[in-house]
């Protein structure tokens, strides 16, 4: 089960900051990031790609984007 990072409703730059904090501490594994705006989704995709983690899946469910990310 992937760890969930719920950053819905947070202003920039908190969604990216919190996501990177968790990913940097993680040795390897999967995390699922929950966001509620396209802006946060785009920012997180950009940030995740810049630290060489892999985006496995992006699901859209009732105004939530769930971004599944793999490290290692």
């Amino acid at each position: 089960m992937a760890e969930i990072i719920d950053v819905r409703g947070l202003s920039c730059p908190e969604p990216v900051l919190r996501t990177l904090e968790v990913l940097k501490k993680l040795d390897k594994g999967e995390v699922e990031i929950w966001v509620d705006t396209n802006t946060s989704k785009e920012n997180i995709i950009r940030a995740v790609n810049s630290i060489k983690c892999q985006i496995l899946e992006i699901k859209e469910e009732e105004n939530i984007y769930k971004i599944l990310v793999k490290k290692g």
Binding site: G9, L10, S11, C12, P13, E14, V16, T37, E42, S50
Partner: protein, 361 residues
């Protein structure tokens, strides 16, 4: 439509947005807007405060159609691309206070981050100190974020109608402007001399404002975010937009013969460099703590973000306070009470920065 939606989130999209803003700002100046002030969100909101009679500085009163256009363009874009989402409730009154001090800082330097770049692109050397202050203020803001600073989460509002009020207010401002200009209703205050009297034709200003509002909403253009993301994440995406704005404005100024390098006698600028630096440091810190530059706050307001609308309102009230209490600078230098206001602003922003922390889950 989907392709257009994705395009503006790309590197090319943000660069194009910056290029458009840089070119159009310089062109607006040629068409009548004040020198090195083709677009200045802070100055234009200050002029709006003047047009509403919230302050009585007679040289800076005009209902600027660009600001109205920014909000309406972003509103339109958010509706078309299904990003209109009324929301709010993330420490609104703190955002209001940050808006007030952001404006006090900006009016000490005489410009928002957009005008900082435009002044640099026009050859105004004094803007170097404002620019350095802006970056330093944003840097201070990032330290608070590193320590866990947060204004808390927004909530989606229960009704779709909840997000229309700020765009509607802007539409009302437009109606008042048109009534005054075409039917001489004399409701608003208009400068007959000074920067407030200098403006491009209304419908050109409005059209450019709507266009910029539209593409900036799509690309998430933010001058504060540009430096914040570079400092915090070494992420250059938004910075490329800012760089493009500067380069485009610089080249357009050269073409239009609007580049005049120097420090003395620069338009709507003063040479008190310490205060240019400190003013923009305060503004940069307040923008960082509030999550966006003044332009970005207007675009977010158009998306239905009530917190951003409150920040923008705080800036308008901040302009009134600045001019009513001798805080705003002028080309002669800072006002009699600028130092006290700037010191108070730093104290308030630091208290907000140190006290607003959300427990991480």
């Amino acid at each position: 439509m989907e392709r257009l939606k994705n395009f503006f989130a790309t590197r090319a999209g943000i660069v194009l947005t910056g290029l458009f803003i840089g070119i159009l700002a310089a062109v607006l100046q040629k068409l009548g807007n004040p020198p090195n002030m083709g677009i200045c969100v802070a100055c234009m909101e200050r002029d709006i405060a003047g047009a509403l009679g919230l302050h009585r500085a007679e040289v800076v009163q005009y209902m600027r159609p660009e600001i109205i256009g920014f909000v309406l363009g972003a509103f339109l874009s958010a509706l078309i691309f299904k990003e209109y989402r009324p929301r709010g409730g993330s420490s609104p009154f703190i955002r209001f206070i940050l808006g007030i001090f952001a404006m006090i800082g900006a009016l000490t330097f005489l410009g928002c981050p957009w005008r900082t770049l435009l002044r640099l692109a026009g050859g105004d050397g004094n803007a170097i100190f404002g620019f350095l202050g802006l970056i330093f203020g944003i840097f201070l803001g990032t330290r608070f974020f590193k320590m866990g600073y947060s204004l808390g989460r927004t909530q989606s509002f229960p009704s779709k109608a909840a997000g229309i009020w700020f765009p509607l207010l802007m539409f009302l401002f437009l109606v008042l402007l048109l009534l005054d200009v075409y039917y001489q209703t004399n409701i608003l205050f208009f400068s007959i001399k000074g920067p407030g009297s200098m403006h491009a034709p209304i419908f050109i200003s409005l059209s450019i404002g709507i266009f910029i509002g539209f593409i900036a909403q799509r690309s998430r253009f933010c001058t504060m975010g540009a430096f914040r993301d570079l400092i915090l994440f070494k992420q250059p995406h938004l910075f490329l937009g800012v760089l493009s704005l500067f380069v485009a404005a610089f080249i357009t100024n050269l073409i239009l013969d609007q580049f005049n390098p120097g420090f003395e006698n620069q338009p709507i600028a003063h040479t008190m460099q310490l205060w240019n630096f400190l003013g923009m440091t305060l503004a940069g810190l307040a923008f960082a703590l509030a999550g966006g530059c003044p332009g970005r706050q207007l675009f977010l307001s158009g998306e239905g973000d009530g917190d951003a609308a409150i920040f923008a309102t705080g800036m308008i009230i901040g302009a009134a306070i600045s001019h009513n209490f001798g805080i705003a600078a002028s080309p002669k230098g800072i006002g009699p009470h600028t130092p006290e206001a700037i010191i108070l602003g730093f104290i308030v922003c630091f208290i907000i920065g140190f006290t607003m922390r959300e427990k991480r889950i």
